[in-house]
Symmetry: C2
DNA sequence: CTGGATCCCTCACGATACTG
DNA sequence: CAGTATCGTGAGGGATCCAG
């Protein structure tokens, strides 16, 4: 997108010149979950052409958002990770995801759910005010994707992989969004067989209070 | 950017499919300041090709972010305004501008400042916590661009045009960013002749407390 | 296997001219 | 004022190939 910039001396323009190109913010989204190798990024973004991924990473590095690092031996592989400047985009991406979630609807048949997108979906929809005093560990299984979310008194730690000793393991699919959007009650979802639980079933109702897709963005606090 | 979408069932992807194309978020930025006619938008975005502006407006309307409205007689002109969905992007854009402002540096010689971009710059950098109990009206003149900012106890109303009876009128240029970023003290700016004041000069120091470009984004509250 | 580079093709975007 | 029409260019898409 920065072929010739926007010609405006403005923070928003500058931001778009830095990360406004196609695919760029999705790469940042995945890197917000943690450092990743080239192949990890390709796996998380199956539709990105390899030359584009290569271009974007080089530009992001040149612009100071991403650092290319060789991990210590013995594996000695290359990982890409966000610099402090790049990490500063977290709030932007969380707000973007919050806004976009209300436009999600049902998944298109060619749309997939990836590990990083699901982790970020939880971070996006988490409501700290609903989590005061709570200590719950969730494991979430969406098709092949397995992630976890540990809620501790208004704080969330969400990441890839399972959570041994989780209070509740939720196996589900597209019904998850419907529940989080308040279009489908947890009870109905269970009845329909849209979710499979292992652990305390009451914690599912709690889950949809903690992670919620708001119908409408609040206009201004 | 949504030629074929990203193929991911994810709020961030969906958001980028809706507003990720080039120029789109700058159009939304301008519309956040208020409804605008086609020509107003062209003036505010001099580098946008007219067919692209036309395309973007049509797509934004089709996607439910923008409404095309004919103003009541006698002028009967056409204005574009944000729907509630479109207005929901305000937080995204404010965060984006906050992040991008730290990468601004000195203006390139072909970069301009527009009315809407300056209004949004103030909204972006406003710190409510620095404004408790204050009641100040500023008029800001940046080249040809004239805008105003009325601060009232933690709230900001910023818009285009002058502010009759302003407590302080600030005439300035690129030095404004340097001051807001803490790279240039208000006193030095006055000494150098980089700003021209009409009103209480002490309110300039207050201004740079109210509107500040942070060096680094806070990583996470 | 990872971490890319290369090639070709298409279509979105850019520049400009023109119209109701 | 509010766009449409036309046409050229280059970024992005897709497949394949290559080096460590």
């Amino acid at each position: 997108m920065a072929r010739r910039g926007y010609g405006q001396f403005c923070g928003i323009s500058r931001a778009l010149e830095l990360v406004g190109e196609r695919w760029t913010l999705l790469i940042v989204r995945d890197l917000l979950v943690g450092p990743k190798r080239y192949t990890d990024l390709r796996t998380g973004l199956p539709r990105i052409p390899t030359n584009i991924l290569s271009d974007r990473l080089k530009e992001l590095e040149r612009r100071g958002l991403v650092r290319r690092r060789v991990t210590p031996r013995p594996d000695g592989s290359i990982v890409y990770e966000l610099t402090e400047l790049g990490s500063g985009l977290e709030e932007v991406i969380l707000h973007l995801g919050r806004w976009g979630a209300q436009a999600l609807g049902e998944p298109d048949e060619d749309e997939i759910v990836t590990t990083s997108s699901l982790v970020m979906a939880l971070r996006t929809t988490f409501r700290p005010e609903a989590a005061t005093g709570l200590h719950i560990g969730y494991e979430l299984r969406f098709g092949e994707v397995v992630i976890h979310a540990q809620v501790d008194d208004g704080r969330l730690r969400a990441g890839p992989g399972e959570l041994p000793g989780a209070d509740l393991v939720i196996e589900t699919g597209p019904a998850l969004r419907a529940m989080m959007a308040g279009e489908l009650s947890p009870a109905d979802a269970i009845d329909r067989g849209d979710v499979l639980l292992t652990g305390d079933p009451a914690l599912l109702a709690r889950f949809v209070e903690l992670f919620r897709i708001e119908r409408r963005q609040q206009t201004r606090a």
